[in-house]
């Protein structure tokens, strides 16, 4: 077959910068970046986007997406994004946060941004662990999960139960959209993209706050191969963190 007849079926989204990422092999942060990049292209967002990045393994997100960005202190991205959006209400503003960032130190900021109905979108990467600092317990760490600060496994009576953020966020008055997806399989990745698109649309048409949780693997700190990590998401995480749309004000009876 000559080169002329070859059909390009897969390419890098324009909004994603052409460079190697710093993530570990099998890490799902890269997939999440790509989904955002694809949507940026499809929805013509880059020129009007102001991104708020946060602390954690994804701190270098601004090196991979071709949009203006401000770096927030640990957990404060929803507050920083609030300031950005209030200052420039015509722009598309989103945060990208890990579970330590969003569900621990930044719990107050995320709850109140959602409850105020800030017209921003939040991408929440739940890998049930603090990745960047070396695998300590996160608020989403599963019962019995071994981490560097729960060497005997997380114990509910001592450390509490893993927090289900999407369910909490869906219960708040200002939330327009809340959904949980997963990045472990092609099928789930496709569904995750749909959730992100919906959240972005609801910001762009001025409806309100959108929240998308993405179950993600951290093979390094889970001490697993990438494939084992995907299996863990399917067998252990999804049963506790069920996938689906929890609130969608654009659809009647959207809360399910």
């Amino acid at each position: 077959m000559s080169e002329m007849n070859e059909k390009l079926v897969f390419d890098k989204p324009e909004s994603v910068i052409d460079r190697a990422t710093h993530y570990c092999p099998g890490c799902h942060h890269g997939i999440a970046h790509r989904l955002i990049g694809e949507l940026m292209d499809e929805m013509d967002l880059p020129g009007k986007t102001l991104m708020t990045t946060s602390i954690g393994c994804s701190v270098f997100l601004y090196n991979y997406l071709n949009v203006d960005a401000v770096e927030a202190p640990h957990g404060r991205a929803p507050a920083v994004a609030t300031g950005v959006k209030r200052a420039r209400p015509d722009h598309f503003v989103f945060t990208y946060q890990g579970d330590g960032d969003l569900a621990s130190i930044g719990m107050a900021e995320i709850m109140h941004a959602a409850n105020r109905g800030e017209k921003i979108s939040v991408v929440f990467i739940n890998n049930t662990i603090y990745g960047m600092t070396g695998g300590q317990m996160a608020p989403t760490t599963m019962i019995n999960q071994v981490t560097t600060t729960t060497p005997a496994g997380r114990c509910q009576t001592h450390e509490g139960a893993p927090i289900r953020m999407t369910e909490i966020i869906a219960s708040l008055g200002g939330t327009a959209f809340a959904a949980r997806g997963s990045l472990d399989s092609v099928k789930n990745i496709r569904a995750a993209k749909k959730h992100l698109k919906k959240a972005f649309e609801l910001q762009l048409n001025g409806t309100g706050f959108g929240f998308v949780e993405l179950l993600s693997g951290c093979p390094t700190n889970w001490k697993m191969t990438p494939l084992q990590a995907n299996e863990r998401i399917q067998n252990e995480l999804i049963p506790y963190f069920p996938l689906g749309v929890y609130k969608d004000v654009s659809e009647e009876g959207g809360v399910c």
């Binding site: 880059p46 986007t49 601004y62 960005a69 202190p73 404060r76 300031g83 209030r86 200052a87």
Partner: protein, 356 residues
């Protein structure tokens, strides 16, 4: 016939709020704490009327981080608080200094440490001038002594913030914030809100390179470079230091005091002058940069110094640093929790004047 300037009778807190609106502040982020509540309360209606936005944040932490976001977007924005709340804002202030985000922050200093009281005090001087958050940084700190100056300095604070890409702190106290007095409001001639913002995040539809506002510098030497750049910026501010000198020329004793205490000390100086006693007042208006040169010039004239503060001795360190090769300063503390009067200052001033 030129219109007579309007005079209005307002609290210092309102003077600050009105100054911010005159400076075209577009976003305000607040959280209640006494004695600064008049500011968010005033702003909650007036900034909306002026076409801006107001958010009552869930905490001072959030308010300061909202300010970081608005400033990074290149918008004139402000937050205000009082001492315990200021401690919480330090995280974002350090980030704003590190990523060179312009913003205005008001601290109506109350008594501390801890919950302290809601009365006036100057215990936050170190926090306000040393970089109260983590890392090697400074920011401009302005210390108005009355309501008119509060109005004027608030307008200036926004210009300084954007000209130097820095957070600017306005440091008042409960006396200044709560006392009502007449001010003559004025408006800056023109404020170009988009000019000089080639660094801010505003979307790159014009196809320029993307912009980053960040304080993380991991590459070898990058952070050292940023610190070097910041330090050079702070050093250059020394030329912008400002102080009021009152009856200093022939004074034997110069009282160093700022803000409300500077004003109270001025009354004491007036009284001594009537009695023929040669006392003057040196009142720093910029606490950072500290007016080192002007103070040292006075020291070279062989004057004695007495620093009076509403704390247990903080600015006195800066006074001593400024004059250390020439002279020293006595110190008189007004304990936070007490309200000073000009009469109360007479005895320590007399003692210093007589060199006791």
């Amino acid at each position: 016939m030129t219109k007579k300037p309007e005079r209005i009778f307002v609290k210092g807190n309102e003077a600050i709020s009105r100054g911010a609106l005159a400076a075209k502040c577009k976003c305000f982020f607040g959280y209640p704490i006494t004695p600064q509540n008049d500011i968010p309360e005033f702003m909650s209606s007036e900034i909306i009327k002026a076409g801006g936005d107001f958010v009552q944040a869930e905490s001072e932490v959030a308010a300061a981080n909202m300010l970081l976001g608005a400033g990074a977007a290149g918008i004139r924005a402000m937050t205000s608080s009082s001492s315990p709340g200021m401690s919480l804002k330090q995280e974002a202030i350090s980030y704003m200094a590190g990523s060179e985000v312009p913003a205005v922050i008001v601290n109506i200093n109350r008594g501390g440490p801890g919950l302290g009281d809601i009365g006036p005090a100057q215990g936050d001087y170190y926090q306000s001038t040393r970089g109260g958050g983590h890392g090697d940084y400074r920011h401009f700190t302005l210390a108005p002594g009355n309501a008119q100056e509060a109005y004027d300095l608030t307008i200036r604070a926004f210009d300084i913030a954007f000209e130097h890409r820095t957070p600017v702190l306005i440091l008042g106290d409960a006396i200044m914030g709560q006392m009502k007095e007449p001010i003559v409001p004025w408006e800056p001639e023109s404020i170009d809100e988009e000019n000089g913002r080639e660094w801010c995040i505003d979307g790159h539809e014009s196809k320029r390179e993307k912009r980053l506002i960040k304080s993380l510098f991991l590459a070898e030497g990058a952070l050292a470079g940023q610190n070097q750049h910041l330090q050079a910026k702070y050093d250059a501010w020394q030329d912008l230091a400002e102080a009021e000198e009152f009856e200093c020329e022939d004074a034997d004793l110069v009282i160093c005091a700022y803000g409300s205490i500077g004003r109270i000390a001025k009354s004491a100086v007036r009284k001594f002058r009537k009695e023929g006693k040669k006392v003057g007042l040196f009142r720093p208006i910029t606490l950072f940069p500290f007016p080192n040169k002007a103070l040292k010039d006075l020291a070279k004239q062989g004057k004695r110094f007495l620093t009076i503060e509403h704390n247990l001795g903080q600015m006195v360190d800066d006074v001593r640093l400024a004059i250390r090769t020439v002279a020293d300063s006595d110190f008189y503390p007004i304990y936070p929790g007490n309200l000073p009067t000009p009469d109360e200052l007479e005895e320590p001033i007399l003692k210093s004047l007589e060199g006791k």
